[in-house]
Symmetry: C2
Subunit: 178 residues, 2 copies
């Protein structure tokens, strides 16, 4: 057969099955079935193991490349313009089905699994580091007053905050920008 999209289809199926059943209960055979493979062994040709499948979901699903085009001009945008823009980006992302599934996969695991916590944190932290640096710049140029240290590391967030990310929110009505 040699479907050129085999690899992508497996990742898509895994994301769905992981999101619905959770990492542990999403068996390789169930993922294979969802991806319409005749044999679950085929997954092990494209991925080293189940964990690599999970890593791939994070890798292809969280386009941190968006952060790549941060120029010095970024830090000159005034807060009253940038902060709403960031919020709008956040709401757009959280409403994206794919992103939502990824969050639904990872957040529940972070309750008990530290390695999940670390892996998810690696994705989230750079974003907050950028915002933190932006805020420091605004303080430096006098647009904001100095403030006390705020813990920004992912694993220092209160559990309730982390978990609230899981809520299925319909933002379209409440936060429509039009």
């Amino acid at each position: 057969m040699a479907d050129p999209n085999r690899r992508r289809k497996i990742v898509d199926a895994a994301r769905r099955v992981f999101a619905e059943h959770g990492y542990d209960k999403a068996s390789i055979k169930l993922i294979a079935q969802e991806a319409q493979l005749k044999s679950s062994a085929l997954i092990y040709w494209y991925f080293e193991n189940k964990e690599a499948l999970l890593a791939e979901i994070l890798k292809v699903g969280v386009p941190l490349a968006q952060l790549g085009d941060v120029t010095p001009a970024f830090f000159e945008v005034p807060p009253e313009e940038l902060l709403p823009r960031l919020l709008r980006m956040h709401l757009t992302a959280i409403n994206d089905e794919e992103i939502e599934k990824i969050v639904r996969i990872f957040v529940p695991e972070t309750i008990r699994n530290d390695s999940f916590q670390a892996r998810f944190g690696e994705i989230v932290s750079p974003v907050f580091e950028l915002i933190r640096y932006y805020m420091e710049m605004q303080i430096a140029n006098g647009r904001f007053r100095p403030h006390g240290q705020v813990p920004l590391a992912w694993n220092s967030w209160p559990l309730s905050v982390r978990i609230s990310l899981m809520r299925k929110v319909n933002m379209s009505k409440t936060y429509s920008t039009k």
Copy 2:
């Protein structure tokens, strides 16, 4: 040996192991080890299966008997006295180690497991039904204005609210009643 506390020790061990690892990953052998049993098969003499062990934790750990002594006088207590009292009861319960473990066992499971949701709801719902009835009484006697219907069923709660119950909160400083 015939330890007269065998049954209770098994339940205590199960509560700890369930709370730490979650229901699925808390194996019978691990529970037996935590309870210092030589054989995990012994658990099956005291309990029919793993699920019965879980049910027992809820049964002995959530003293709904406290609701038993609700008299007509309960509904005469004015809201400005009763509501803080209920909050204080709630904070006390949530700070109790045993109760906290029970919450930590059940709430994560309710994210994906409907039967857990139903079972936990059976425990929680009566409390809310009581409060709902109290509020209706206050409306009836004119102490509160009528209001729209509020969904009180456990499974209608937003996920974020359900999950926030999981947070490990140190109330002693913030909410100390002196």
